[in-house]
């Protein structure tokens, strides 16, 4: 328990300076890297003949989709012909059609759901040119969409997709991946182009050991909230995550970008408030300098709501795992260590449950223990957090979802107490509400719709490997993970079949792009509205009360949509096991 608290406190201390840095990147404020990085960025714009003028929302969205489409095209081709290309020392064959389709969608949408096992399905070239490249670009895409949405909400121009995209890669993702990667190598993660090797053990047997450019993939996997492992068992393997130091480093790496997005939003909202005060001719001395603002009051509401949701999940997961595994208890074993099935000794229950909650809250999808073997209630937490999809969320998109919930919360509260629904000085009207409702319905529709199909169709049922209620949990988990663009899995599911590859591919695609398009449409519609002045009728959104309201809105919405499914899956399993 103590180490969870210490890890989280330490994370806050470490994330803060990065958050300020990301805020500077987003708003193009001066920062210490400008003398070098400005030249690098200008070089990239010139080299690729990029027009850096502002885009309207339609152009922004089209450019985003077009760039992603090109990457899908290039990536798909490489996977299909990887066997004849270079850097294939382990002699890996080409990937088949449906699996390539699934893999490419999965990595382009920042999901990283893996229906393949890295050891046997990807050449080193594919790992680098396709997987690592997409880990950078999908994270940058999510961040860019989020930056545009924040600007729209605050009534600013949306900016330029290529500029946002390039700046986050050159100024944050690339240098940080290098530093994190180097620390990982120091701790024992391999980084080489040599093939897998075989050793003769002291008992006279043989052992195959995996190798490759693992550290390079490992660092961006977490920084970009991607989550797809180099090896089948992901960050639970000692080759990807050998020590407690790498584990904590990976935890921090996946928290930085999502948390920074909330911070950036808070600061930009504060800046707007600041500007308005100056326009109104208020005394400047009463306004705090931005440097001394921690989160900004609007950012604080969202951050608090996310943190409360996160902590509730974490406590439930840690408690459930500490109770131990019923199958172990049935054999008369005393479980002082908690549920160790599917967990690594070096992480234990504390770091495993923390990692599980963080990876599904920040929708990374990397795992340091096998989620399929979690206790029913311990496994419900990652499932629920992916269904909510707003507990910090992946690079950028988590904040975007939370902003949609904020609009809905404002609307519901407005109706209840008779205030005009407005958010960040913008009136919320019919058009925005229709889009927000549409946006929020897509997620459960994808999860529940596809789950329903899977338990009817024989091709879906064949994938289920655990009997009883847990079988339904496996299906729900797979589609929640796809729709939330998380990528972790109840890995028991036999998912490399045509049915699963296609259905999850579709869920990932719509879960990602439909949401982004609708969210930017809402941002555009708010951007065009004239700011209204605060009056007695305004519902304040920068208060603790609003944060609590937001938590309840998220939970109520989740309960209305997902409770029946959860009751048939993890809750029923928990009740049968008597927990």
């Amino acid at each position: 328990m103590l180490q969870i608290v210490c890890t989280l406190l330490l994370s806050m201390v470490i994330i803060m300076p990065f958050a300020l840095y990301i805020y500077n990147i987003t708003t193009k404020k001066k920062s210490f890297v400008d003398p070098v990085m400005d030249k690098v960025d200008d070089g990239i714009y010139r080299l690729f003949k990029i027009d850096t003028s502002d885009m309207d929302w339609k152009k922004y969205v089209c450019t985003l989709l077009l760039v992603n489409a090109c990457m899908v095209l290039v990536g798909y081709l490489i996977l299909r012909v990887q066997s004849i290309l270079f850097f294939n020392p382990n002699g890996i064959g080409n990937m088949d059609q449906s699996l390539s389709f699934n893999t490419i969608i999965s990595f382009m949408t920042n999901t990283n759901l893996q229906h393949y096992s890295g050891e046997s399905s990807l050449s080193y070239l594919s790992q680098m040119l396709v997987i690592i490249m997409m880990m950078f670009t999908s994270a940058a895409t999510g961040y860019a969409a989020c930056a545009a949405m924040i600007r729209g909400f605050l009534g600013k121009k949306m900016g330029n997709f290529y500029v946002d995209f390039t700046r986050i890669i050159t100024r944050f993702l690339l240098p940080m991946s290098f530093i994190v990667g180097l620390i990982l190598v120091w701790q024992g993660v391999p980084q080489t182009l040599y093939p897998n090797y075989t050793v003769f053990t002291i008992e006279g047997k043989l052992q195959d050991i995996a190798s490759g450019p693992i550290a390079a993939l490992e660092s961006i996997k977490h920084l970009g909230t991607n989550g797809g492992g180099f090896l089948g068992a992901n960050s639970s393997t000692p080759l990807e995550n050998p020590t407690i130091i790498t584990n904590i480093l990976e935890l921090f790496a996946m928290m930085i970008l999502p948390a920074s997005c909330v911070f950036t939003f808070g600061h930009m909202a504060y800046d707007k408030y600041h500007e308005k005060k100056i326009q109104a001719g208020n005394d400047l001395s009463t306004i705090k300098d931005n440097k001394h603002v921690w989160l900004g009051s609007e950012g604080r509401s969202l951050f608090t709501a996310m943190a409360v949701l996160f902590l509730i999940g974490l406590i439930l997961c840690f408690w459930a795992e500490s109770q131990g595994n019923s199958a172990v208890a049935a054999n008369g074993i005393v479980q002082t260590l908690g549920n160790m099935e599917g967990k690594e000794v070096r992480f234990g229950i504390a770091q495993s449950s923390l990692f599980t909650t963080v990876t599904t809250s920040f929708t990374t999808g990397t795992v340091n223990n096998m989620h399929d073997t979690l206790t029913p209630l311990g496994g419900m937490v990652p499932l629920l957090h992916m269904m909510l999809n707003v507990v910090f969320g992946g690079a950028g998109v988590g904040l975007m979802n939370m902003l949609i919930y904020a609009i809905i919360a404002v609307f519901i509260c407005g109706l209840m107490i008779g205030r005009t629904p407005e958010y960040l000085s913008k009136k919320i009207e019919g058009k925005e509400m229709k889009l927000a409702a549409l946006c929020i319905i897509i997620h459960p529709l994808l999860i529940l719709g596809f789950s329903a199909i899977s338990v009817i169709v024989p091709a879906g049922l064949e994938g289920i490997t655990n009997p009883g209620f847990h079988g339904l949990s496996q299906v729900l988990y797979e589609f929640s993970s796809s729709a939330a663009n998380n990528g972790s899995g109840f890995e028991g599911l036999a998912d490399n079949t045509l049915f699963w590859n296609i259905t999850t591919g579709i869920a990932m695609f719509f879960g990602r792009y439909l949401s982004i398009v609708i969210q930017l449409a809402i941002a555009n519609s708010l951007m065009k509205k004239i700011d209204i002045n605060e009056s007695v009728g305004t519902l304040k959104t920068n208060t603790w009360t609003f944060a609590i309201v937001l938590v309840f809105v998220v939970y109520i919405f989740a309960a209305l949509t997902f409770l029946p499914a959860l009751a048939l899956g993890p809750i029923a399993e928990a009740l049968t096991l008597g927990i």
Partner: protein, 207 residues
């Protein structure tokens, strides 16, 4: 249409550029740097005995010799195999992961009951109550090189019975290979079985 083609061209060239920068230059640069500064770790932290590589520090092995400490059960036997198993196709190639049995799956209870029985047969002096849960459950990766300190201690009697070493000597070997929590807070107390067994093998003259 012309406008679209122009935009497509920009996006496509940009994609190729990103492939080169993020997918090639970055991993190659990291490879070069880590090969220079952390050569051993970057190549897999291999452990050599008499000039031959016998293990990697971070990958567990399927130890079965009764004189050595045993690891946790693994769905893939730690990718350890004999020549016969390779020829008969029993060894299916490099892999990682677990059986992914849910707590409610009867197969899990059965597998653990088999493990408990095997463990009690191998270590007849150990009582059921004293078996720590990690030694009869499979790890997530199937490659876990660690066991808990208790799981090492319960195997001491068997090692002593099968070798010339005394109780104290074996326990001091365990203590030597125990990795403690960092700052007393982060991580767990654990024993690296690969390193421990290499020390033990040297003591008993196996290598």
């Amino acid at each position: 249409m012309k406008d679209f083609l122009k935009r497509f061209k920009t996006a496509f060239i940009f994609t190729i550029g990103m492939c080169v920068i993020c997918g090639f230059v970055y991993p190659m640069f990291l490879t070069a740097t880590s090969q220079i500064f952390f050569h051993d770790q970057a190549n897999g932290s291999k452990i050599e005995v008499n000039g031959e590589v016998v293990a990697s520090e971070f990958v567990g092995q399927d130890f079965t010799d009764e004189r050595l400490f045993h690891c946790r059960p693994s769905a893939y036997n730690y990718n350890t195999y004999t020549l016969e198993q390779l020829e008969s196709g029993e060894y299916a190639g490099l892999s990682s992961g677990s059986n992914n049995y849910a707590p409610s799956n009867p197969a899990l209870e059965k597998r653990i009951s088999d493990e408990v029985k095997t463990f009690m047969d191998e270590n007849p002096t150990v009582k059921l109550d004293d078996i720590p849960s990690d030694i009869v459950t499979a790890s997530g990766s199937g490659l876990d090189p660690h066991i808990s300190v208790e799981a090492a201690m319960v195997q001491v009697d068997r090692i002593v019975a099968n070798t010339d070493l005394t109780n104290e000597e074996v326990i001091s070997l365990i203590e030597k290979n125990t990795e403690h929590k960092i700052l007393g807070i982060f991580g767990e107390d654990k024993v690296n079985i690969v390193l421990l067994n290499l020390d033990l093998a040297k003591e008993i003259g196996m290598i």
